[in-house]
Amino acid sequence: MTTIDIDTDAELDEPGEPAAKLKHPRAVRWMHWINFPLLMIMIWTGYRIYWADLRDPFVLGIGDYELFEFWPTWVNENLDLERKLARGLAFHFTFAWLFTLNGIAYGLYTWRSGEWRQIVPERGTLKDSAQVFLHDLGIGRSKPLPPQARYNGAQRLSYSFILFLGGIEVLTGLAIYKPTQLSTLTSIFGGYETARLIHFAITIIFVLFFVVHLLQVARAGFPNFMSMITGYEKSPRKGADQ
């Protein structure tokens, strides 16, 4: 070779040289990708149920001032929701079991495998995540980012929070599904109306999470995205975040 190759990838292409490292165990990858369509189905069918009572929609506002109505007419009109309540209920109460089972399987796996060490927030997580958040907005980039394992503080915090909300979503769902037989559960969530509002609010948070998640995955680059498919992430991580 007459030229000096400065491409690190080429250096890593040597046989036997570690070029990729396990990031997401097989079980997590399967459960992540199974969860994705299940959650989409749950949101869509849930919205078919919600549409049935549009006389009384949830509104975000201050006092009498209406900031945002869930949802504006143009959203409703484009989702094939009208007069689909019976189907919405049937799909929702079918796929809810799969969504719940997948969540339980994930919880058990994460606990038994020790993977929880990568996700649960720790002592420094809150401070870390503030720093990461500012960094992502382009503020204070001269300061080094705090140490991290697979996930940075902001990821630990948001992933744990969204998993916790997943559990609450299932429980509030049960609370409004069987408010008589499971009346104790319903009352824990402040009664039927409040449980229904929480169930709905979490759905909105899921949608917002999904948008941010997609943006962050796009920012983190292709090798990171591929690691959720292959399990292994190519080339050393550079404090990447998704």
Partner: protein, 264 residues
């Protein structure tokens, strides 16, 4: 004992070092295999989704969904406890409920001429007018009413227990209980079916009062079914026929794609 940033970094490094690595060739093979597996899984999921959508309908929803409704029904019927009461509220929390449907009651009737036919497997065994509720203990309950559409409303009903009506007039049904009870409006424009256990629950009433006043016609005068064990779609207004039966009765909304059980 506070962990320093250095200690934390070392702990993280150790955790990360515990994960296996592979070389570029292995990664190449792996990513090809993963893409194939992923594509196959996505196709399988899509096929499953289409299979549900394309299955023949059973009462207006695809068969697999109807099957899950029935599986859900057996689960909740297994968990059912007859002494479990729906929460009740203070009367002051209740208010008049909206009229959400007029099926089977869209014409006014002469309340004094009203009679209710009681049948067993299709044969009339008795007929009653409003005097049937006299002599039965009057109940008043303030419960939350739930609609399949998602809304709910706290409401006060007055009436007599269906179980008291049966004990007083058809005790043979208690000794030899039918599996189901079917109810119809006088014009047969609306009809529902409920399982025996729900009908005999302490909070299942033949109601003739709402908010302490006689039922208006559009809320089911003179006598309607009320129970916190079922959605509003089962709480038939203006009872014309009550039938004891061993076979699962036809149900207006179940025929339109809803869960036959519709239990709460």
């Amino acid at each position: 004992m506070k962990e320093t940033n250095e200690e934390r970094a070392a702990r993280y490094a150790e955790l990360e070092a515990s994960y296996p690595t592979m070389d570029a060739q292995q990664y190449k093979t792996r990513s090809r295999r993963s893409m194939l597996t992923g594509t196959a899984a996505a196709l399988a999921a899509f096929t499953g989704w289409r299979w549900i959508q394309n299955s023949p309908d059973d009462l207006n929803i695809p068969q697999p969904l109807r099957d899950v409704h029935e599986a859900n029904e057996s689960l909740w019927r297994t968990l059912y406890r007859e002494d479990k009461l729906a929460p009740t509220f203070d009367r002051s929390e209740s208010s008049m409920i909206r009229v959400n449907g007029r099926r089977g009651i869209d014409n006014e009737i002469d309340l004094d001429a009203w009679t209710m036919s009681v049948r067993s497997e299709g044969d009339e065994i008795a007929s009653y007018d409003m005097s049937v509720v006299e002599g039965l203990e009057k109940q008043e309950m303030t419960i939350e009413h739930y609609c399949v559409e998602g809304w709910s409303h706290i409401i006060t009903w007055g009436g007599v227990r269906f179980s008291d009506f049966v004990a007083a007039n058809h005790p043979e049904m208690i000794e030899n209980p039918p599996a189901f009870v079917s109810l119809e409006t006088p014009d047969r424009g609306f009809y529902v079916g409920l399982e025996w256990a729900a009908m005999m629950h302490d909070q299942t009433l033949l109601a003739f009062e709402v908010q302490g006043e006689p039922l208006p016609q559009d809320h089911g005068a003179p006598l309607r079914l009320v129970t916190p064990l079922k959605y509003g779609i089962k709480q038939l207004k203006r009872i014309g026929v009550i039938e004891f039966t061993a076979t699962q009765p036809a149900d207006f909304w179940a025929e339109r794609g809803y869960d036959w059980y519709s239990g709460l």
